[in-house]
Amino acid sequence: MTPLEVIFWIASAVILISAIMMVTRRNLVHAALFLIVTLFGVAVYYVLLEASFLAVVQILVYIGAIAILVIFAVMLTRQVTNPGQLFNKHASLALVMSILVFIGLYLALSVWPEFSAVAPEADTAAAISNLGTAFFVEEDGQPVYLLATMTASVLLLIPLVGAIFVARQKE
């Protein structure tokens, strides 16, 4: 096993185990902390896939913002240890469905010819500046994402509207 493979298996184990831990926690802050561990593992994946920009953004956006937001929400709704039933009455059905989805995904992917492709040699260092041009430049022959970027910008206004909404509520 190469060092890369060792890191890959450790990261996979961390991702899956902490995801399962997250789902089964009663204490929601603990669940959020396990979510953070999972997200960190995904960041390691991005590093292994040589998408260093996304790895850093994963930490910045997911751990730095989204996870903090979730923990805030847990604390503000005072539902840290939610009493009573953890799972709803369809929990066993949901478990069966999730496993079926996993098997279905696996079967669907395994017949795909590229399923066990090996990574080609590539210059991934240029990806960051290519990202910049991909986001903002419209070029012939290149895929065009300018519209998507602008839509993202508009989409980001929605949380601001949400902020106004939350701020204006009466105590």
Partner: protein, 118 residues
Amino acid sequence: MLDNWMFIGLLVIVAVALPTLPIVVARILAPRKPNAQKMETYECGMETVGETWVQFKMQYYVYALVFLVFDVEIIFLYPWAVSFDQMPLLGVIAGVLFIFLLGDGLVYAWRKGALEWK
């Protein structure tokens, strides 16, 4: 590039181990004589009343939301700044427009009073 990240990975291990070490040393060296009063929650000598989660302002959450917006904006701004030399005028204007839209949102939130600390 993975070589660089290997250093970061090792630094993660070291940076966790280094602060853990004094805690472990302190656990060995420091005295431990717990008693019921010492282990109480500190509240200026009073016994703590009620649960910890008492009324918190929604305002905290509002700031977190506005922060989230700008944090995500970063994804687009940094690659834009890095690849500015390859940018035609259209790209420059698109980027400025992108920032303008978000600044516009901030001004709107401001006018609607979301940024007031109450």
